[in-house]
Symmetry: C2
Subunit: 681 residues, 2 copies
């Protein structure tokens, strides 16, 4: 074939790599046209006019015996005016060529680099998760529009539609009003060349005069405590800026249920909270754009995730029904609205997409974690836990997925703990207790040294030691348990006061002094109870799913801020998570945010998660009789009955010690009240 | 079959009239079910629950030889509790039955009255136009929704969708955000029974708790001078209130082109005008609802018509492109937006639909007139003229339609006339001039007598005689022409001053004193020139279409306020319209408003006019060389060359008189300038 091409000056063989697609084309055919005819995936926004630079390729020169040809640089046309102008104005690597402006002059091997493909992949760092294929819901298309003519009085919009049909084979089904309002000026300012932003369903959402090559989206995770916004390039998948803020609704109630109570007590309170969260969201959108140095109108899409109450409050839906049985969502499907309907000032044509909610207490954030982690693609049974005021729990593998939520309360985040605080500089995050002396040492956020090291004082001079954060409380309790200070049934052992003056009586119970100073930081019996209630609820929820699935947990994924700082070993020592191989526990950080970014970049992912969420089996812990039994058994460290063989192999566990617990009833009140409130009707 | 039914107690024959559909059904079958199975068109909003009363039928009792049966009243079940309750609470004619709550007990003839049909017809008064079949874009559906359940945690919205699917076979494709916001309360207030408003494309736009039986729409005609709103029952087609107001944009410019100039001179002026017209629209919507005693949220749809500049200004589109060649519309297709996007406070889910525009100067109002008058269904060639500042002209029949606009200016509406005024009490509207004495007599709006009758003084005591309105100026000029005061080339004949002191010199020309008093009302030479320019433009536009079609006008339809007061004979004497049989000239009033009402009530009418408008051949007068020639010839009364045989048969025309016209150039300035402004680039 190569020889034939050599002989016949009229035809030449082109091979595209890495796809391997090949064909013969008349000499003079633009490389982009050849690629299109062969179905090779090369991007273009300008439609082959040498403006956008998306269609860059690299000639591969040399002998290619497997293709039976010699590929020579001179088998591509020399750079023309368009390519030279592009190279000069926008810059391009030396070996790159614009495939639209380069013609085939002889046999050639052409490499299409990853960044020139329409369906580029965003490679994720962790090997076990799937890459993201870029296929956003909205795309840019540069068009040349016919000028109006007295003899043919069609509207400007109709000629734009015609151009999109002719030049991109796109049928515009509908145009937003702001587009109609700015279309005429854009056409004239751009001298009848514009760039149109068109959604997959044919909605024309924006126009720019001339060529416009940038489009962005916002991946938004609205947590009850913090909100984060990732400004993402819709064409490269790159996160160009990330900003966050406290959820301003905290002033209406620290945890979710107190916010729902606020609405119950203050009719119209949902409007106040909606306003507060939307204002912050709008502020964050602006901040993200400023940090990245982009225009707000370049933001064409938003994806939001959050728990059901956040979901409702952002949408302006009264969340009271989520405060009592049967915890009915206004809608569990995905929701698409205009970003402007959420009072977010980005492009006026931008839409905001909420992932579907799984159930009344298992929100779009859980759906998003599933999308990011993909337990549905795996053989091993994975437990995905997103810890917040409610833990959202998903269990399963490629055969079946189950989900529930469990009312852990905010203790695992450091709230309701006497010396608890948010994870911030000065908070104790790591703890070790000497099993002989019972003396502790610890590390605080913002300092590199342990408290018994020389530099510690200096490093903490500015921040002080202010409290214990979520991961710190897990570690100190686990270490107390391993050192024998804490019994399996969660009693601080007063008899150990003989061994150390750090164990002190406090009313009828005992406390452990972790840090002497200002403030003094203690672990009280009530703190232990709060964690027991939280971890008991978490475990019991997971256990319900295990019961239903009939298969043990083989892998644990801890999502959320809490999970990303926790040490898997200590979590297992306390029985926060079920037993499995320690190296099968992964902390994946803000997986909900990652899922939002996937849904932002890949349209198909939306359908996928919508379909999957409909199939997930939902378990309502409140109506499962066994939940209370599981809960009671799960209060012990690590568990009253579960054997934890993997843990015992990895960690030397103390002799089981069970002390009577005369004050358990009192201390348990907080958790009990919390659960009742959530379930009160 | 009848005998068989008599014998076999299990089956009975039912015949529905007027459709004649018939079938045998088991005794005990509800009449509505039988009707549905036979495809008989019976309405229902409540889905057969005895609430809405839409499915009423009347048993026809007696011998029906043609159906071979005896129909007896007792062959329908007796009234049950539901029917009794409906009859008591809402009232129902004695012979009526609720077909959903009445079962078949034996052979029966059941009449379905017109008001019980889904596809009811609204009968229009004029025999030559088609009735309107009621088939609105949005319908109400009463549903019973499954209550939420802890074991099946679907959202309320999803259960509503399920109910609409199960109970009405409707697939909801999308729900507006306000619906999501109010859904949960509506379901609980209605004890899981709600009424849903669903658009034809499956969009759920509103919900009411319990049964809700009323839905309305607004048919809106936005003229450059006046705006009118007709509040229409979407289920009966009845206009329940009509309100109107001056277009507030008048303060930015009396005629359209001066408003466009305002925007050219004042950047952002389109926003001011948009705001003004939207405020008035919203006010009128409120006023219409108040007059009819209905709630604004019961208004679910709007249809708007107007000329291209009004169309753009309401939508917030800058109209400057319509002020110069090539008069490019932002869009010529139909436009659907939310009513709220136009700042109209009706139901938050209401949409506003604009009919398509025909061309840069032939607007949605012209499309609406075509929809109302239906020249496309007729054999005879019809000329449809909607007179405003620009006349919009459509010519054709079922084979072919052509359209153009012509810059008549506002003279025909009484503007630019020395004693001209709007049609209001005190304005002269009818004039007769004695051909011997040249003495006039006239009638004014608000008085029943002629000026030479006894009661005239008394009847006009309060209003006085204040000026001449549009139809008055046509009559006085026509009568002056018939009396020989006015020459065929439009000169007031100064030599006639010898016969009457009503002809007086004014500079180098003459005037005719129509009324002596305070104010004195004269017809000046400049007035004649203004009307000549206007009517010349109108005729020339029509003639261009006739040239193109190659067929003479057989029928004339005058639309708009001007047309509805004009006397066809006088219009033809002046040559405002081409010659045809006088009884083939119809004044149809606000046909644009009627067209809007048709598009409001019948969904199919929208597709029909969209398709038709695309097919109409558009002629741009500005680029047609022959327009100027036609225009010059059309300045004469009735016309320089056209023979007007039908007119001459009906009216005794004066001997042709042509006088030299030394001042024509000066007097013509106004009109010339106006045309130039419109066409300046």
């Amino acid at each position: 074939m190569s020889e034939k091409a050599e002989l016949n000056a009229e035809e030449a063989l082109v091979v595209f790599t890495p796809s391997g697609k090949r064909g013969s084309f008349p000499v003079g055919t633009p490389v982009l046209d050849a690629a299109r005819q062969l179905g090779v995936d090369i991007d273009s926004v300008c439609g082959g006019r040498g403006i956008c630079g998306r269609c860059q390729v690299t000639p591969s020169v040399g002998d290619f015996p497997k293709f039976k040809m010699k590929s020579k640089a001179e088998h591509l046309s020399e750079a023309g005016a368009k390519e030279a102008r592009y190279r000069e104005k926008r810059g391009m690597k030396d070996d790159r060529r614009l495939s639209c402006s380069t013609t085939i002059q002889g046999d050639i091997v052409v490499d299409v680099p990853a960044d020139s493909q329409v369906h580029k992949q965003v490679v994720r760092k962790r090997a076990e998760v799937r890459n993201i294929e870029i296929d956003p819901v909205v795309r840019l298309h540069y068009i040349e529009v016919e000028e109006p003519d007295m003899h043919k009085p069609t509207g400007d919009m109709e000629r734009v539609k015609e151009a999109l049909k002719d030049q991109w084979d796109i049928e515009v089904t509908r145009a937003d009003l702001p587009v109609m309002q700015k279309l005429q000026k854009a056409l004239r300012d751009g001298e009848w060349k514009i760039t149109a932003a068109v959604r997959y369903d044919g909605e024309l959402v924006y126009v720019w005069p001339g060529f416009h090559g940038k489009s962005y989206g916002l991946a938004v995770d609205v947590g009850s405590t913090t909100m984060s916004v990732h400004l993402t390039d819709l064409q490269t998948g790159e996160v160009v800026s990330s900003v966050g803020a406290m959820n301003p609704q905290i002033r209406f109630g620290e945890d979710l249920m107190s916010r729902v109570s606020y609405v119950m007590m203050n009719p119209g309170g949902e409007q106040e909270m909606m306003k507060a969260v939307r204002e912050t969201l709008n502020f964050l959108a602006g901040q993200a754009a400023t940090e990245a140095g982009i225009d707000l109108t370049d933001i064409l899409e938003m994806v939001l995730v959050g728990n059901p109450i956040m979901h409702h409050l952002i949408l302006g839906i009264n969340p009271v029904e989520l405060g009592w049985a049967p915890f009915a969502l206004a809608t569990n499907g995905s929701v698409t609205v205009w970003a402007s309907e959420l009072d977010v000032s980005v492009n006026p044509g931008a839409r905001a997409y909420f992932l579907p909610c799984v159930a009344g207490h298992v929100g779009a954030d859980a759906a998003s974690v599933v999308l990011a982690e993909g337990p549905q693609y795996r053989d091993e049974v994975t437990l995905v836990v997103d810890v917040g005021t409610n833990a959202e729990i998903v269990l399963g593998n490629k055969e079946r997925l189950l989900a529930c939520s469990s009312p852990t309360g905010p203790a695992l985040e450091g709230a309701q703990i006497s010396s608890g605080q948010r994870a911030a500089a000065g908070a104790i995050e790591r703890v070790r207790i000497d099993p002989e002396t019972l003396e502790p040492r610890f590390r605080v956020i913002g300092a590199g040294s342990w408290s018994d090291e020389e530099m510690f004082e200096q490093e903490t001079a500015r921040t002080g030691v202010t409290g214990i954060c979520g991961s710190g409380i897990i570690e100190v309790l686990a270490e107390m348990f391993l050192a024998g200070i804490l019994s399996a049934d969660g009693i601080i052992d007063g008899s150990m006061a003989a061994k150390t003056d750090r164990i002190v009586p406090e009313g009828r119970t005992f406390s452990y002094i972790l840090h002497r100073g200002e403030p003094e930081i203690r672990v009280t019996q009530a703190d232990v109870r709060a964690i027991q209630l939280a971890k008991g609820a978490l475990y019991a929820g997971a256990q319900l799913l295990v019961d239903r699935l009939g298969k043990p947990v083989e892998r644990v994924v801890l999502a959320g801020a809490f999970g990303s700082h926790i040490d898997a070993k200590y979590a297992m020592v306390l029985g926060l998570i079920p037993d499995c191989k320690l190296d099968m526990v992964a902390s994946v950080g803000n997986a909900a945010g990652t899922g939002a970014r996937i849904a932002l970049l890949n349209r198909g992912a939306r359908y996928e998660i919508e379909k999957l969420v409909a199939e997930i089996e939902k378990i309502e812990t409140a109506v499962e009789a066994k939940f209370q039994d599981h809960f009671v058994e799960s209060m012990a460290f690590p568990h009253k009955t579960a054997p934890y063989p993997n843990l015992k192999e990895a960690v030397k566990m103390p002799e089981p010690k069970v002390l009577s617990d005369s004050d358990g009833g009192d201390d348990g009140e907080g958790g009990g009240r919390r659960r009742r409130r959530r379930r009160a009707s």
